[in-house]
Each structure stands twice: as structure tokens, then as C-alpha cells.
């Protein structure tokens, strides 16, 4: 079984490029160029140097001693929270801004939900001196004020998405409309492993630095490259794609994707796409998505804005369908408790997205000798308000 993208842009039955003709020239140009650009030694050198000196890579692989004792297994944390800007998102935006430069683009657009991808995009645009416009749902702008301020400080223009439910899904629609209206000078930096081919594959490759590092770091610490399990939270799925990538074809490695169940899978307020979604087309790709029987895309819910997306990337849809990855849904409450516990036991306040991945330790029994690598995709600073409200701190 092949878990990578095929030459037509599909992962099994999922993927493809379901885009209006207006986007075809841009997407096709990217498709023809991206692998060539990424294989170019000068590109690789520049990407590696920025990841090292600007982002601060490699991010540590940290043995979580007290957490391991509590669950009687060996738990390692991949510390993406220590990256510049506080999450894994910057791995992709660094890669894509370098790609945009090589494609001759001068204007960058992006969508953002919680604001993490928006901040990571605004950051690299400041770094490269490029114009940056970030689309963000009007409701998200109101509830993520610090990230909006960060983007502004970094020189980006934040444009409110006023249509539909005024959240991430609509911000993505607005970014796509902007790209339709500005087909020549603009590159769209998609933040997740979604969108028309080649985006899911390109984003996955930029994020695959996570699993590449896990391999050699684990070799140093455990004497072998492969853990028994890799665990990551999943909304659209960029941190999960990067965490899983180099283990997809290593049969001995169990892959666990943790979705946001919100208030519970059956409550109507959930973002557990593998349970609630069915095959369809969203934002340019065929994948699993939450929709009505009539094919209208529905609004997801999660306490974590970064997991609040009605679909998953096509690679993940394929991993789910083939059974290669185990999908586990975690509620808001389980995630919040796991976040608090990590703070108390290890002195690390995780992003609420990442807290979902840690909640799996409560429900899944790992063996004492199992090596479990959990991707700590982001830090919790941005979520302090939510933690304060939830725990009445």
C-alpha cells in the first residue's frame, strides 16, 4: 500500500484538484514547479539555514519522565512548541515563502483560524519583505485579539471574512476568492495539509522535518529510529502529516491521529471528521468532510480553534480509510484536563490543539516498554484566556 501522493495528485481515492478554471494556471504552475524547486540545492540550503538559525531547529525530543511514570510507558515529546512563533506552522510558511519567491510572486495571502498560521505567515513575509494579507473570520478576529495584534505588528493586513459562519472555513473561501481576483502576482500560503494538489503534498513535505528529526533523535536516545507509536492531533492535519510522514511505510510504527470531539461526537457540536464526515469536496480536494445529506458543508465545533475545521487533509482520509492510522476523538473536557496535567507534571503549558493528543494517554493502554512519541505541536500562551475561563484560574 502506498500512502504518499500519486502522480495524479491522489491518496487512494482522495485528493485531486477540484478547482474553478480561474485557479487552474496558478495551481498547475505550482504543480509543475514544486518538486523541482524543493530538490534544488540552493533552495534546500536556504530552507535548512532558516529552519536552523531563525526557527531554532532541530526542536528537542524530550523524554517526559514524570508523564511516563504516571502512565507506565516511555513517552517522548517532540517540542514543536519551542519553534519561533510557538508552533509547527512556521516550518511550512518558511518553505512556502521561499517557494513563492522562486515562482516570482510578490504578494502573499493566507487564511487563519486561531491566528497561528496567520502569525507564521506574517512573520515570514516580514522576513522577506513581502506584502501579506491574512483572511480571518470576523468571529475569530474578536476572540483571538492578541494574534490579530501580532499580525499587525508584523506588517500584515488582517481582512475579516464576513460571509457564512465567519470562521476558518469562510476565511479559506475568502483567501481563495482573493487568489481568483489576483492570479498573477499572488501566492496563497495554505496552512494545513488541505487544498488542491499539490498543496497537501507540499505542506506535508515541509512539515516532514518533524518526523525526519524524530528518527535520528530517537536513534540517539533509544538506539533505534522507530518508536512503537507516533501521536498527533488533527484538524486539517499539517502537524500530523509532518509527524507521520517518515513512518507511513514503517509497518511496526502505530500511527494515532487525535480529533476534536468537541462537546461529544453525538452532540452536534464536534469536529470529529472521521466519525461524522463522509466523502466529498471541500476547498479544492476530495476528502472526508462534515456535511449535510444535501452536500452543504456544516460548521464544526471544538474548544480549540486550530482543530475547528470541517474536513481533514486527503492523506489523512486515506490513512483512515485504509486503517493505517487509528483515529481517536477526544472531547473538550478530556483535552483541557490533559493540558492541565502536562503543565503540572512536566512544566509545559501546551496549546489546546496539542492537549488533545495528550488526552489519548487516558484512554489507550500502552505497554511499559512501548516508546510513544507525541507531537507537542504548539505552546499554550495563545490559549491562556481559554484555560483561565475553563479552570476559573
Amino acid at each position: 500500500m502506498n500512502y504518499n501522493v500519486d502522480e495524479k495528485g491522489y491518496y487512494g481515492e482522495f485528493g485531486g484538484a477540484f478547482i474553478p478554471e480561474m485557479l487552474y494556471p496558478n495551481v498547475e504552475n505550482l504543480r509543475q514547479q514544486y518538486l523541482k524547486v524543493m530538490a534544488d540545492p540552493t533552495f534546500i540550503a536556504e530552507f535548512d539555514q532558516l529552519l536552523k538559525d531563525y526557527v531554532g531547529r532541530p526542536s528537542p525530543l524530550y523524554f517526559a519522565k514524570r508523564l511516563s511514570e504516571k502512565y507506565n510507558t516511555k513517552i517522548y515529546l517532540k517540542r514543536e512548541d519551542l519553534n519561533h512563533t510557538g508552533a509547527h506552522k512556521v516550518n511550512n510558511t518558511i518553505g512556502q515563502i521561499l517557494m513563492a519567491k522562486r515562482l516570482g510572486k510578490t504578494r502573499i495571502i493566507a487564511e487563519t483560524g486561531a491566528g497561528q498560521h496567520g502569525v507564521a505567515t506574517a512573520t515570514v513575509c516580514a522576513l522577506m519583505g513581502m506584502a501579506c494579507i491574512v483572511y480571518m473570520g470576523e468571529i475569530d478576529i474578536a476572540r483571538q485579539a492578541p494574534n490579530v495584534a501580532r499580525m499587525k505588528m508584523l506588517g500584515a493586513e488582517v481582512r475579516p471574512a464576513l460571509s457564512g459562519s465567519r470562521t476558518l472555513k469562510d476565511a479559506t473561501n475568502e483567501a481563495i476568492r482573493d487568489w481568483i481576483n489576483n492570479p498573477v502576482d499572488t501566492h496563497y500560503i495554505i496552512g494545513s495539509a488541505i487544498g488542491p494538489h499539490p498543496y497537501p503534498d507540499m505542506v506535508t513535505r515541509f512539515q516532514s522535518i518533524i518526523s525526519e528529526e524524530i528518527k535520528w533523535q530517537l536513534k540517539e536516545k533509544e538506539g533505534k529510529e522507530n518508536p512503537h507509536y507516533v501521536v498527533a492531533c488533527i484538524g486539517g492535519g499539517s502537524n500530523a502529516a509532518g509527524t507521520f510522514y517518515h513512518f507511513l511505510h514503517e509497518k511496526e510504527v502505530g500511527i494515532i491521529a487525535v480529533e476534536a470531539a468537541g462537546k461529544g461526537v453525538d452532540t452536534g457540536e464536534s469536529a470529529a471528521t472521521s466519525v461524522l464526515g463522509k466523502e466529498g469536496i471541500i476547498h479544492g480536494c476530495k476528502t472526508l468532510l462534515m456535511q449535510t445529506q444535501d452536500g452543504q458543508i456544516t460548521e464544526p465545533y471544538s474548544i480549540s480553534a486550530g482543530l475547528d475545521y470541517p474536513g481533514v487533509g486527503p492523506m489523512h482520509a486515506h490513512l483512515y480509510k485504509t486503517g493505517r492510522a487509528e483515529f481517536i476523538a477526544v472531547t473538550d473536557d478530556q483535552a483541557m484536563q490533559a493540558g492541565m496535567q502536562l503543565s503540572k507534571l512536566e512544566g509545559i503549558i501546551p496549546a489546546i490543539e496539542s492537549s488533545h493528543a495528550f488526552a489519548v494517554l487516558e484512554t489507550k493502554n500502552f505497554k511499559p516498554d512501548d516508546v510513544v512519541v507525541i507531537n507537542l505541536s504548539g505552546r499554550g500562551d495563545k490559549d491562556l484566556g481559554t484555560y483561565i475561563d475553563y479552570f476559573k484560574l
Binding site: 484538484a17 480561474m22 466529498g280 469536496i281 444535501d294 458543508i297
Partner: protein, 257 residues
């Protein structure tokens, strides 16, 4: 030969109107279609509303959202249209996004269209290669024309490919834009219109996006066989209501001949 091809053989510039089904009120669909024909419109695009209309500007987005709030579904649209051919003769095209069609089942959808007397589909996010690999035979089986879009950025090579795969007409998007975001055409557009006219394609071209009044209609139909008005008509429905449809069409057609 279906009604689209027949209509295109007439020696005139065609006026085609888009509206969103289920807007302003859920049951306005049939009345709007009948009034458009009565007032001299040559062809109609019936918009199947979608929650996430990527290629549409604010006017059509808002009408789609309202139509869905009104309760419009694919099944209700088909029910509303079931007797439409008893009163309407001009070509009818359903325009929408692929996901609702995919969920209904592409074959079931096409079959239903044939039963009702729909002549073609415009699904901007169903790409050419997927159509050819998976759905072309189904469209042909049920006598439906699949209308493709081209834009100023579409390469000549791809236009020829689209022309070969098309039936009915080619939908020429006037400029790089979502719907409803233009006012007036400049030299760039006129050069593009001329360039396409000079390609002598097998299929006639009808221009859409940015046509809003008699003047832009005239400009667009200088080199093409017709033009499509969408957002401006939907805006008219919003502001004036369904009773004032004759005024709108008259405004376009008076200078036309």
C-alpha cells in the same frame, strides 16, 4: 440536438440570466423562470445554492446563504422544476458546485435533469480531467451539455482542449475575478474577447462575469454570441423584488437591437 445548440443557431446575440434558486423566497423559482422567458430572455442558469461558493462574490454568496436558510435543497429544486417544460421552452441550465451533485449521485442527478428537461450543467469546480475520466459518459447518456469556463489566463493549448471536450457553448469569464466584481470593460478585456474570437473555436462563446447593464452587454456581445448576467440580476431581485423583473430585462434589451 438539444435546446442549447438549437438556440445558438439563431441569428441573434443571446441574453442569458443567472439567478439563485430559492431566492428571494423558496418558491419563487418557477415564477422567475417563466417571467424571464416571457420578457425575452434566451437562456437561464438556475443556481443550485451551495454553502461555500468559492467562485462567487458577495451578491451571489448572500443569495445562496438566504436560499439555504429558506430551506432550498436539491430535492426541492427538482420538485419545483418537475413541470417546468409545460410552460417554458428556452434552454435551462443548472449551475452549482460539485459537492451537492456528488452527494446526490452524479448519475441520479443527471437522470433527474433529463426527466425535467434541463439541458446542461455548469459546475465550475468539476475539473476537465475528472469530468473526462469519470463523468463524460453519464452526461452524454442523459443528453446534458457540460459547460466549461475559460479565463484570460487560460492558455491557448488548454482552450483547444476545453473546446474539444465541450458541448453547447464555452463560458468565457470576462476577467480574473469572482462574480459581480467589475464595472465596465477596458482594453484588456476587449483584446481578450478578440483573441478568443480569432481562435475560431468549434463551440460558440458566451461571456459572463461583469455584465450588468445594456452597455456591458453590448460590449461583451460584439465578439461573442451572447452574455450572461448574474449578480446584477440577483441584486435587482434583492432591491426591487420579483415583480420588477420586466424592468430589468427591458433595461438590458432596449439598446440591444
Amino acid at each position: 440536438m438539444n435546446r442549447i445548440n438549437q438556440k445558438l443557431q439563431e441569428d441573434k446575440k443571446l441574453l442569458s440570466i443567472y439567478f439563485t434558486a430559492g431566492y428571494p423566497a423558496l418558491n419563487d423559482t418557477v415564477k422567475i423562470i417563466q417571467d424571464l422567458e416571457k420578457n425575452g430572455v434566451d437562456m437561464i442558469e438556475i443556481g443550485l445554492p451551495f454553502s461555500d461558493p468559492l467562485a462567487d462574490g458577495p451578491t451571489i454568496q448572500a443569495s445562496s446563504t438566504q436560499a439555504l436558510t429558506n430551506g432550498m435543497t436539491t430535492a426541492i429544486l427538482f420538485e419545483q422544476l418537475k413541470d417546468i417544460r409545460k410552460s417554458v421552452r428556452i434552454p435551462l441550465i443548472i449551475m452549482g458546485y460539485f459537492n451537492p451533485v456528488f452527494q446526490y449521485g452524479v448519475e441520479a442527478f443527471c437522470k433527474k435533469c433529463q426527466e425535467i428537461g434541463i439541458d446542461g450543467l455548469i459546475l465550475p469546480d468539476l475539473p476537465l480531467d475528472v469530468y473526462q475520466d469519470q463523468y463524460q459518459d453519464i452526461f452524454k447518456k442523459y443528453g446534458l451539455a457540460n459547460i466549461f469556463l475559460i479565463t484570460p489566463q487560460t492558455s491557448d493549448e488548454r482552450i483547444l482542449k476545453i473546446d474539444a471536450a465541450s458541448d453547447g457553448f464555452i463560458y468565457m469569464v470576462s476577467s480574473a475575478s469572482v462574480t459581480g466584481s467589475q464595472d465596465g470593460f477596458g482594453n484588456t478585456q476587449e483584446r481578450y474577447f478578440q483573441r478568443i474570437a480569432d481562435m475560431q473555436l468549434k463551440n460558440p462563446q458566451i461571456i459572463g462575469f461583469g455584465i450588468s447593464d445594456a452597455e456591458t452587454f453590448q460590449q461583451a456581445t460584439k465578439t461573442s454570441q451572447g452574455a450572461i448576467i448574474g449578480s446584477a440580476f440577483v441584486k435587482h431581485l434583492t432591491n426591487q423584488g420579483v415583480e420588477k423583473i420586466p424592468d430589468f430585462i427591458e433595461g438590458i434589451l432596449t439598446v440591444k437591437q
